[in-house]
Symmetry: D2
């Protein structure tokens, strides 16, 4: 089969690889019908993740059709249409029993990272019963690709951890795909204010279109002052960090109100300064989280009931044989205005 393979920093190729087989009785093999590219795939390609070995098929998102199941799989059979979680969950270990699938003792984020992923014709999914979700009849499968990773990440790490509430004030630092996913799902809770912060006016315009009540371009360096002004000097109840660098985390520290929450979503490469000399008495909460995807069943209901339009995030569509072009388009998002790209089989 054809697959997009990471061959070391800066190197990716479409290669012919053997079709994956059932290795454990709890495995399934899924024929991919649609996948996408994540910012994390770009990180791997830059060589930022030493845990990803050259030779790995990339990709941890997608939908498809069950091709084969192991003897221990009870929920799925060949031909079933399924949504793939980016997180593999055994469903049995202590972490899984607490709903913290991201820290599953033998799973977690392994797809397209420690084992071959979804940017291929077929993929092997361990613990299929608890790592795949049935696709309801009549569902728009393209929209569901957004439920593999990006929407659960924005929702769980940003919105749920951030305790967004009716009438509350929210700032989202970073208006890229993940910040926008937080923006879309924050609206489940009807906050009074959602302030979108970014350096890129185009992305801010998208944020406004997606429901932000105001936007702040942080290029001028006075983003904190602007947020304080917008909130009558109080700061925000929830600050969602969706970038992953020290400057944006510091901005969150500067705009969170006493009693508020900083929900970190960004993937950080270096440490940040935590100003406890000021915050020790501010009754703030700071959270981190690798998405658990426990919210997929709930998100499926909101998509099916049209409470959220997940497809808004999709800007470009490609066939699998155009996957290198898809990477190119996604990689140059500032120019192409790409958010999420769909790659169809």
């Amino acid at each position: 089969m054809q697959a997009l393979v990471y061959n070391g920093p800066g190197q990716k190729n479409v290669e012919d690889r053997p079709k994956p087989m059932i290795q454990m009785p709890t495995d399934a093999v899924v024929r991919i019908t649609r996948t996408t590219i994540c910012g994390t795939d770009l990180h791997i390609l830059k060589g930022d993740l030493a845990t990803c070995q050259p030779g790995t098929v990339l990709g941890h998102e997608g939908v498809g059709i069950i091709d084969a199941v192991g003897a221990g799989v009870v929920s799925f059979k060949p031909g079933d249409r399924v949504l793939i979680s980016c997180i593999t969950a055994c469903g049995r270990c202590n972490a899984c029993r607490k709903g913290m699938y991201s820290h599953c003792a033998t799973g977690g984020w392994i797809l397209g990272h420690r084992i071959d992923g979804t940017q291929a014709e077929f993929v092997r999914i361990p613990y299929a019963d608890t790592s795949l979700y049935p696709i309801p009849d009549g569902a728009d499968e393209e929209a569901l690709v957004m439920l593999s990773d990006i929407l659960p990440t924005g929702f769980e790490c940003g919105v749920l951890n951030g305790k967004v509430q009716p009438g509350s004030s929210v700032a989202i630092v970073g208006s890229g795909p993940i910040g926008l996913a937080a923006l879309l799902t924050a609206q489940f809770y009807s906050p009074a204010e959602i302030i979108m912060i970014d350096l890129d006016d185009n992305r801010l315009a998208v944020g406004k279109h997606f429901g932000a009540t105001s936007t702040v371009n942080s290029a001028d360096g006075d983003a904190a002052q602007q947020v304080m002004k917008l909130t009558g000097g109080r700061g925000v109840d929830t600050a969602i960090e969706a970038v992953g660098i020290p400057a944006t985390f510091t901005l969150c520290e500067n705009i969170v109100a006493p009693g508020g929450t900083i929900a970190n979503v960004g993937v950080h490469g270096i440490k940040v300064d935590l100003h406890l000399e000021r915050l020790w008495s501010h009754n703030v909460t700071i959270t981190t989280r690798l998405v658990d995807t426990v919210s997929i069943p709930m998100l499926l209901k909101t998509v099916q009931s049209k409470r959220i339009d997940a497809k808004q995030l999709i800007t470009h569509r490609f066939k699998f044989d155009q996957i290198l072009l898809a990477y190119d388009t996604f990689g140059k998002a500032a120019d192409t205005k790409a958010l999420k790209v769909i790659i169809e089989a």
Copy 2:
């Protein structure tokens, strides 16, 4: 009346001061029967708190008897015995309505800080209805002095914020009065393990006596490894920071398990490093809090029902005319083994 007055960095005196009077209809004047000294008083004396003006009577803890009340006070009358909260709460502002008394718009921690405090014969208490608590008949008033600040602080900032649960594992970094207050109140929730960490073997022995399941002397620099060993490599569900310096906060970062919580109690003078390059994916929560003292009514019930022995924290007793000696004893805790000292009228 006699009062202990802060006269600038390094200077304190017992002075004769006019008895405070009702200034607002919501005020009460309380005759102090017992007060104590807090680590924060020592900070003020070192000159660490610019917000405390020379000339201020120190002290924010104590019990006493109502001497006078303003026209707007409905819950108390002269002669009533009362417990004084270290936090003054108007009960009306947005922060107070949310139970975040520490951020009361016109109150918060003002006693012995921005207005004259309790280390005197009399003290004026603003918003008396919501800043004083009636003392039940037959209560041990000495024990109740521990409810003005130290026990609510250990409980609210450490135990509640730290989400201590039955069967969970807890590490408390710092076995001074505040760490021991966290230790005593953590046991309300029956954690399986409570590991006490300090540099001082005497304080660790006290921790063991107060209910710690194990102790770690951090002088050797391998405290994190020892905690990981004690927890089978998992780390702790709750790490309570009860010191207030970068090294102890970093220790907490190194021992908190995925899904766990770092509850900061310590008063920090400088920033700390937050290792998001590692923790971003660990599903951890970090909390800060200035005590709100909302737990005083609950703590009163636990003291009255003997679920907790608050007096264990009291090591020394003085008369008010010995208050300079009391400061000396409390200030040299490493030698005197003082935890909390009682100063009686």
Copy 3:
């Protein structure tokens, strides 16, 4: 001043009464600019509430302008525009400190019940600091009358107690003003399904217009079957009882899914059957609540940010000298299609 007085079962009159005066230092006197009529006022007039003495001025909702304040009132001064909570809260007692204002030791629902109410030119409000709310500049005061009672009741007793969540399923039994208030505020949480149930097709049509995803006319006696069919046999996560009779409570018992919640809002005159022989193993929660109005500040924000259109509930408007006509219109709601009527000074 003119006031609408309850003079015993079936008897109400507009009478001339002395203007109320400050009695306690915590009182305010408010000049009413707008008030409304509640279903509970009709109950009093029927003689259902023995706790309401003949001679009482009715009404517990409204907005107005501060006319006078007692010495102990610190948050308001004459001329301030205020929203009146239907619940009087001392802010000091154990119940108030827990946010359960409805059970305030010396307050609770007393306005227009145990003391004179708001259907008059002036009203005395005890504990003004904690029972009144400032009206923001530029707010639509008519809309805010809905925040005195009906919206907090639908929200707190129905939606919050019912734990409505994104993607969840909700049934509201009773599409009168209170059921519709629950319907409007349930949408703060983006449930996937909201099924409105009533006997009156007009009210169901209003429900549909206000956001219900489906409606069931319960006249045929098969409402439970219809709800089970709409939910694929699962039943609803939240059943909100907004009528107050045994039949509607039983309907809730028949449609709540395992793990779900029945949130009672209705005022019941007689006991109901609780089918524990079936429900003991269904992991259900049943809640009751007299509104606490703790959500007024939050609701104010959602009204100000246009997350909710509170004025949708207002169907008729009268001047105070037409108040008897207003009662007539509200009392014959099946004919007049009245929901909430506004009475303007």
Copy 4:
């Protein structure tokens, strides 16, 4: 193998039955080393549960050693010592993902009810990975038999649902094994008062010994008045119903304080009266629950760390060939003072 078989109302026999075999890849077969008898087994024998067919091996509690596992079992292998949950959980369905194992789509309470149970030499356990728990080295296996059902039931249905808190007041109606299990586990949360209510003075004495702060014999018919007196007229924050008849549920309604919770644990055969004409405004919560056993891992930690002495519940011990005598002893608890009886292989 030998097994205790239900042969229709009033009839039980020790019979020779074929050893169970693996039927599904997710099954395990366990050799029972210790089991016990539950009050529910007596209900089945009375013919109260039509869902239990004659011919069924009884028993849903126990510990044992893995004898065989299906191809899909990944957590256990022959020879492993395991604790059997009374609830079978697939770990995959919607209910299981929410932690509501009791309503597992294909599991739930099936052992010794819909399929053969644990009162035998061997038992087949479906979904072994998520229905069995590893026994830590050195654990007291007899104590762990209390974790199959009785302690999780008292804890989850009574204590957790009842929201027992430090300093709160609790009444437990029924001082039999299940009420005593609630009593033992309520103490995890350090309530100020635990009032035990029963008709049997011996069981009340046991309650006192197990930690109740007071006891009330309800034979005189004034139990409600006694509880109100003990609580200063306030009633209790938590009333745990551990009997299952209308009179005891009504007692809970009469003693629950405003804002409090009635946590039903009892198995009811007929409906009860819910006095909403009084309770509609009392802000109470009523919960029901079939145990989910999600608390087993936590309870294991509390047993291992000696926070609870689970063995206190064991009054009698028998060998398997004495199982009919064990039933006799357990069935005549009023005379034999039996709480839980252990049946050893």
